[in-house]
């Protein structure tokens, strides 16, 4: 593989790993926020346990979203300095806003939420998780604005061999953005709903003592997936118009064509299953009671993740050979002087470390699910600030 190919592969692998965790973050954040709000208003201990249990899953997942995101953030400058040179005056703005207006606040508020149990007044504590949700969505907005600019360089003009910003608003009304953003956000909800559904099915199938907890959670999961799937499919089909008008040949290649087929097949079949089977079976909690269905629910859990990665493959491979569509090719954007040794070493490092951590993280999520709401570390008791007196005084 040549150097461009390696650099592309590095971006694809780290980007896909990143999105696997981000898509769940986007879906779980509002669910945890709603659970926490219900607890704050009604004071029902079940809602507190739900907040802490699903919140812990959210948080474990978030860790990998952050570390993979760090690599994404710096990769533009490392491998693709031609992009910042040619289009940085436009493309840099939404990325800068993402870090300052979204991620900075998201991380700060999440810290307050994670460590704020027993410390913050209840109302403010709930406000933190809502702010986390809001800023996570703002993050998605700015990143999709930046990505849509690469698909269709709206709002800019070429001057002296570089793009300059002409109309900032046009970045936000980009036709490759307006349906893609809700498509991605609803895909996140669908994914979050399926994880809650699958984990609940596991406990119901195993007949653990947490029957009520997981019967309710199953309902939340299926309803979320129902709403998410409706909008995902709706906005998915809506994308064909704008994409066809700016990138007419997008789906003609083998890879984008196949990935599109896979995404639509999964999307369509699973959406029908949710709408016509799973959602109606919520009546009288039939779904929670029909134990033979639960393994099937567990097997279905990964499907939105697969569809989401397929979606990105469509969108990104379909854009080739362009980095900025019609303006700057991927090959021309490669950092000049980048050697094969550089890129091979960094690829091995990033893919190896992140891949390993991703596996560990999934094992930890599975473990947290298996241990159930009885053993949750999030919101556990604090440690006194003074050290254990025994060894200190015996000196």
């Amino acid at each position: 593989m040549d150097i461009v190919g390696l650099a592309r592969l590095q971006f694809a692998v780290t980007g896909s790993l990143h999105f696997l965790f981000v898509v769940l973050t986007l879906g779980l954040a509002p669910l945890v926020a709603i659970m926490h709000t219900r607890y704050a208003i009604g004071g029902n201990p079940l809602h507190e346990r739900m907040t802490r249990f699903w919140g812990q899953i959210y948080v474990i997942n978030y860790a990998l979203g952050v570390v993979t995101g760090l690599v994404m953030e710096f990769q533009f400058g490392l491998s693709w300095s031609g992009l910042s040179h040619y289009a940085g005056d436009v493309f840099g703005a939404p990325l800068a806003m993402e870090t300052l207006l979204a991620f900075f606040l998201e991380s700060t508020f999440l810290g307050l939420w994670i460590f704020g149990w027993h410390r913050l007044p209840r109302g403010l504590h709930v406000a933190c998780i809502w702010l986390v949700t809001l800023t996570a969505y703002a993050s998605a907005l700015f990143i999709m604005v930046a990505n849509s600019f690469l698909q269709n360089p709206a709002g800019s003009a070429e001057m002296g061999g570089r793009l300059v910003l002409r109309d900032f608003g046009a970045l936000f009304t980009n036709p490759t953005l307006v349906f893609a953003l809700p498509h991605v956000l609803s895909a996140g909800l669908w994914t979050g709903g399926f994880v809650v559904m699958g984990a609940s099915a596991y406990h119901l199938f195993r007949r653990t003592p947490e029957r009520e907890f997981f019967t309710r959670s199953l309902r939340i999961g299926v309803l979320t997936a129902f709403i998410g799937s409706l909008f995902t499919v709706g906005f998915g089909y809506a994308q064909f118009g704008p994409v066809g008008s700016v990138q007419p040949d997008k789906f003609h290649g083998v890879i984008p064509g196949t990935a599109l087929g896979l995404m639509i097949t999964i999307g369509q079949l699973v959406q029908f299953a949710v709408m016509f089977v799973l959602a109606p079976l919520l009546i009288r909690d039939l779904l929670a009671r029909w134990r033979w269905l639960h393994p099937l629910l567990m097997v279905m859990t990964p499907l939105p993740f697969v569809a989401a990665i397929a979606g990105w493959i469509v969108r990104e491979v379909g854009r080739q050979p362009w980095l900025v569509y019609g303006k700057l090719s991927v090959a021309d954007a490669l950092t000049p002087g980048l050697t094969r040794a550089d890129i091979t070493a960094s690829f091995a490092g990033f893919a190896g470390v992140l891949g390993l951590l991703a596996l560990v993280d999934y094992v930890l999520i599975a473990r947290a699910v298996r241990r159930g709401p009885g053993q949750v570390a999030l919101g556990a008791a604090d440690l006194p600030v003074t050290a254990e007196p025994v060894p200190a005084h015996s000196l």
């Binding site: 760090l70 700060t108 410390r119 910003l165």
Partner: protein, 248 residues
């Protein structure tokens, strides 16, 4: 306008070292100050609620570099390629150590992730030192020479001292536990970054994005700046005193 964004960049860099500096330093000292698992839990508990709010200063810094100085972003990151890759890997390993160390039971598990926390922190300090030296020298072709390594070791020592001061202040034990001592070590931790920024000022100002871009950035970011500052202040007000949270 370019001066404003240069100052923002400089403040973010200095703030990163003043704040994240003590997390890095404490991570490096973890095996020294925390001989037993319980002692390490206390040290990590002291810094845990601050880490997320501190490390984002660097993410914001990268964003400002890309938004306001895009040409420099490409230049600097690609010239410093091996150092930036090392920095990122160290950062990832450090964060994984923090997030994972308490997520499973066994003693061996803890030891592995405490080791990751320590090694990642050391890697962060070393690669940052080498990067600051390289920037001060105007991005030489091979940044990893004797001067770079010396810079790394010096920064490691500086941040370790800062981390130690933070631990003494937060846990209220050991010498130099006063708030003033912590302020002093924070200023010292930020000093190298400030010097490097002063050296790079002319070059950066000459390579800022055009006014159109900077205006848009200012219009979007400045109104939100009080919230950014407020959130940081809130973290300090909430977690400076009292019992230690146990999640990390």
């Amino acid at each position: 306008m370019d001066i404003f964004w240069f100052l923002t960049f400089a403040v973010l860099l200095a703030g990163y070292f003043a704040l994240e500096g003590f997390d890095i330093g404490l991570g490096v000292l973890l095996p020294v100050l925390g001989r037993s698992p319980a002692a390490r839990d206390r040290l990590v508990g002291a810094m845990a609620p601050f880490v997320l709010a501190n490390e984002v200063w660097l993410v914001a810094l990268a964003g400002v570099l890309f938004g306001a100085f895009p040409v420099l972003e490409g230049q600097a990151l690609s010239r410093l390629y091996p150092l930036v890759v090392a920095l990122l890997l160290a950062w990832i390993v450090r964060d994984a150590g923090l997030w994972f160390r308490r997520r499973s039971g066994g003693a061996a598990w803890r030891l592995v992730w405490d080791g990751a926390l320590c090694a990642g922190s050391a890697g962060l300090a070393l690669s940052w030192g080498a990067i600051l030296v390289a920037v001060a020298r105007g991005l030489p072709a091979s940044p990893l020479d004797a001067a770079g390594i010396a810079g790394g070791v010096a920064l490691l020592a500086l941040l370790a001292w800062h981390g130690r001061t933070f631990a003494a202040w937060r846990l209220q034990d050991g010498p130099g536990r006063s708030g003033r001592a912590l302020l002093l070590s924070a200023c010292a931790a930020a000093a190298p970054a400030v010097l490097v920024m002063a050296a790079a000022a002319a070059h950066m100002l000459g390579n800022a994005a055009p006014d159109q871009t900077l205006t848009v950035l200012s219009v979007m970011v400045v109104p939100v700046a009080p919230i950014l500052v407020g959130a940081q202040v809130w973290v300090w007000r909430t977690f400076s005193r009292g019992a230690l949270p146990t999640f990390f």
